[in-house]
């Protein structure tokens, strides 16, 4: 008998877990680490630690390990935090892990991208329990449902001390959750241009700013803004790529976006092969013109 427990590292993960459980047709509980418990997503019970910030991975993994018996699937929305914790959990449970599931064919057969998304692997899990992370874009959103029971969850002590916490920069939405993402590449020249051009359009559209690996490597954009195989995977309603040629590694991070718009001076840039709408133009002229037309 299958039963899922989803580990939510942020309150917004709970809806993602609901979608994943619905796709499998399996009842679920939630272990929510941070924030007020989300009780309207159809979970049986929400075990809530109610921390204000994430604690180190080893403690969370031990806590989930102690609570995991009786569940066939321990799942989480893909993120740096979930990969950190859930892979450790799989080590503790001596069980298989499937990273970055994009589709489920059954409760044991999953699809996931490999080699920077150039190949899709179908993988069968041969023993339960299984630990997995999934990308929510592949699983349709569900309506709010029911009133979950709530119970406490305690996170055991860690051997790791956080001496300086990560602070979210600026007031923009999180890259992986924003409905609009505006990304820039190397042509942005410097951090100030990136912030005014890319950040400015992102703000005008109420979206998040992202960047290519090249832009991050050259110091134009912060590390956590990198979108691609080794950075963040995004799937917004609207993705605007400005001055981005479209490497395989970058495409791996954006191809589940609903609408991709490319703005590039080079009419032969590979990004135009996948963009829904392409504009051959200098981003320094096009982006201010877009903002002028939007009146923002």
């Amino acid at each position: 008998m299958s039963k899922i427990v989803g580990v939510a590292f942020s309150p917004s993960d709970v809806a993602g877990i609901q979608s994943f459980a619905a796709a499998l047709g399996v009842p679920f509980d939630v272990i929510q680490i941070v924030g007020s418990p989300v009780l309207d997503a159809g979970a049986g019970t929400v075990f809530a630690a109610q921390l204000s910030d994430l604690s180190p991975a080893d403690g969370i993994a031990s806590g989930v390990h102690q609570a995991a018996s009786g569940y066939s699937h321990i799942v989480a929305v893909s993120s740096m935090a979930s990969k950190d914790v859930l892979a450790r959990l799989a080590g503790l449970l001596d069980c298989a892990m499937v990273t970055d599931v994009i589709a489920a064919q059954s409760t044991t057969v999953f699809q996931r991208p490999v080699v920077a998304g150039t190949i899709i692997q179908t993988v069968e899990v041969l023993a339960e329990p299984v630990v997995l992370t999934f990308r929510p874009a592949g699983f349709p959103k569900q309506a709010p449902a029911g009133q979950s029971a709530v119970a406490p969850f305690s996170v055991p002590a860690s051997k790791v001390t956080i001496t300086q916490a990560a602070h979210k920069t600026g007031g923009r939405p999180d890259l992986t959750q924003a409905s609009v993402v505006v990304s820039g590449g190397r042509p942005l020249k410097d951090a100030a241009s990136f912030e005014s051009i890319i950040g400015g359009l992102a703000d005008a559209l109420g979206g998040a700013a992202g960047a290519t690996r090249a832009a991050v490597d050259s110091g134009i954009a912060a590390n956590e803004l990198q979108v691609g195989q080794t950075g963040k995977i995004v799937a917004p309603d609207l993705y605007i790529a400005a001055g981005i040629s479209g490497s395989t590694q970058h495409m791996a991070g954006i191809k589940d976006s609903k609408l991709i718009v490319a703005i590039n001076k080079d009419p032969d840039a590979p990004i135009f092969e996948v963009a829904d709408l392409g504009l051959v133009a200098d981003l320094y002229e096009a982006i201010p013109a877009i903002r002028a037309l939007l009146g923002k």
Binding site: A90, A96, L126, S158, Q164, A222, V274, G278
Partner: protein
């Protein structure tokens, strides 16, 4: 103090690879193989740590066929002192790799296992954390800066919201992210010179069956190209038509 660096042989991350016609795997015909880039960053970091502390010994280990010697030799040329090849044709999942590495840790007794956060072929991002769990060691994943003291490690790591700094006692597991360093270039003479460094071949210690099975490898359904618009005005009008500018 010993740093153990596991390295994986992977298809050239910049080569275009396709699935085999029967979907049983990846077609590697004519494709070069490299050290997994994140593991190469781990080797580089170990060498830099030794530049600060000459008492550090660097052991690299790889699991796979005889051909993995190529990647181990490169790691030796970069500055590792000794290599171990667990020579096997067994198919491992990440958990199996973690169990093999656990056995290596038992014999090498490192203070730190420094390894890539993920391999660019399977993109799993699992083995380091699984190893740390099995050893009951603390872990710091996705490192962008590493400082090693006699009894503790201080690591800046890339979290979802930005960079956080953590401290943990040794022994520990650290996995590397992209911006920890830029690995040095090793010219051919360096690789030839490294042939005199020790490379030990051993048999695998564990033979547990993997808990996952690849059913199929296939190309993703391609995103079809849309169309080019002629002007900013047309672009904005089209975005409005499609309801993409709701905010």
């Amino acid at each position: 103090m010993t740093i153990l660096v596991p390295v994986k042989r992977v298809v050239d991350p910049y080569a275009k690879v396709r699935p085999l016609g029967d979907g049983s795997g990846i077609d590697t015909t004519g494709v070069k193989f490299e050290i997994n880039p994140f593991d190469e960053i781990a080797v580089e970091e170990a060498v830099r740590l030794r530049e600060k502390n000459p008492a550090i010994q660097i052991v690299v280990v790889s699991i796979g066929g005889a051909e993995c010697e190529e990647q181990l030799r490169k790691a030796l040329a970069m500055g590792a002192d000794k290599a171990i090849l667990i020579e096997t044709s067994h198919v491992y999942d990440s958990l199996g790799i973690a169990k093999e590495l656990e056995a290596v840790v038992a014999s090498v007794q490192p203070s730190v296992v420094l390894m890539g956060k993920q391999a660019t072929d399977d993109d799993c991002n699992q083995a380091g954390q699984m190893l740390a769990a099995r050893l009951d060691w603390p872990q710091a994943c996705f490192a962008s800066k590493v400082e090693l003291g006699a009894e503790k490690a201080t690591v800046s790591r890339e979290a979802d919201l930005g960079v956080e700094t953590v401290e943990m006692p040794l022994p520990c597991v650290i996995t590397t992210d992209l911006r920890l360093n830029e690995p040095r270039f090793v010219a051919l003479p360096g690789i030839i010179k490294a042939r005199s460094k020790p490379l030990e071949r051993i048999a695998p210690k564990t033979t547990s069956a993997p808990k996952t099975r690849t059913v199929k490898m296939e190309s993703p359904s391609a995103r079809s190209a849309g169309r080019k618009v002629a002007s900013v005005e047309e672009l904005v009008a089209e975005l409005k038509n499609r309801g993409a500018l709701s905010t």
